[in-house]
Point group: C2
Chain length 111, copies 2
DNA sequence: GACTTATGACGTAAACATACGTCAAATGTA
DNA sequence: TACATTTGACGTATGTTTACGTCATAAGTC
């Protein structure tokens, strides 16, 4: 199968990539948990979520690969936390898309 | 394989489902196109996007199944348009998630 | 009625995501 | 040094998404 993704605009691709990260409740739960805790948290996340450590590790890896979270080794543990720089970028793109759409809504005549 | 999705909160599931809809550039492009046009548009979308009619139809179906767009038959054509009620719901959930996260950021001490 | 056009339905192949068990490495503790 | 703990890496089975070709249907046109 040939991917056609590169035929879309960079912005569309970037927004889609961020949306993909949010497209599984486990990853949303991870981000919510990391945001809630005012200190950084290692594999405690495993105890919080109804998934095996292995599966969770995979989701963490995905978030880390996309730079939405950071993970730093702290002795025996790993301290994970949200990368706010990337998070803000996601917020901006998402807001832009939604606002642009809703703006257009006002001019709409049918349906 | 057993799905563990039902073990997460309804809000997490709902947000993830919306995010999944936005997780492909084609579907973002469709929504952008529908929002841009101030009249409703049928299969003209096919001419706008670098995908076969069949593939596009599949993406349209997905958006329609989730109620993010509506499609009404108009003679020979189908008039598609954004379902703003669902769109607003998505906006609200997404905003809630992002704002709640960023609010927590201010209290954060590490990383 | 025959023809064209627009569209959804169905089938299918390739790619990707999800979920988890097991293993190995690295670090702190007895 | 021996041992437990935390964690990423690897393998793998199953499920879902993407992409498209082909067929069927339904509405307008000749």
């Amino acid at each position: 199968m040939i991917s056609k993704i590169e035929n879309f605009t960079p912005k569309q691709q970037e927004l889609a990539a961020f949306a993909k990260l949010l497209s599984h409740p486990a990853r949303i739960a991870i981000l919510e948990f990391l945001a809630k805790e005012n200190r950084c948290i290692s594999g405690d996340i495993t105890n919080e979520l109804p998934l095996s450590r292995t599966t969770l590790s995979q989701h963490l890896q995905e978030l880390k690969n996309s730079d939405l979270i950071k993970g730093e080794i702290e002795g025996k543990n790993v301290c994970y936390c949200i990368n706010w720089k990337t998070f803000s970028k996601m917020e901006k793109l998402m807001k832009q898309f939604i606002d642009k759409s809703i703006e257009a809504k006002l001019k709409q005549s049918c349906c």
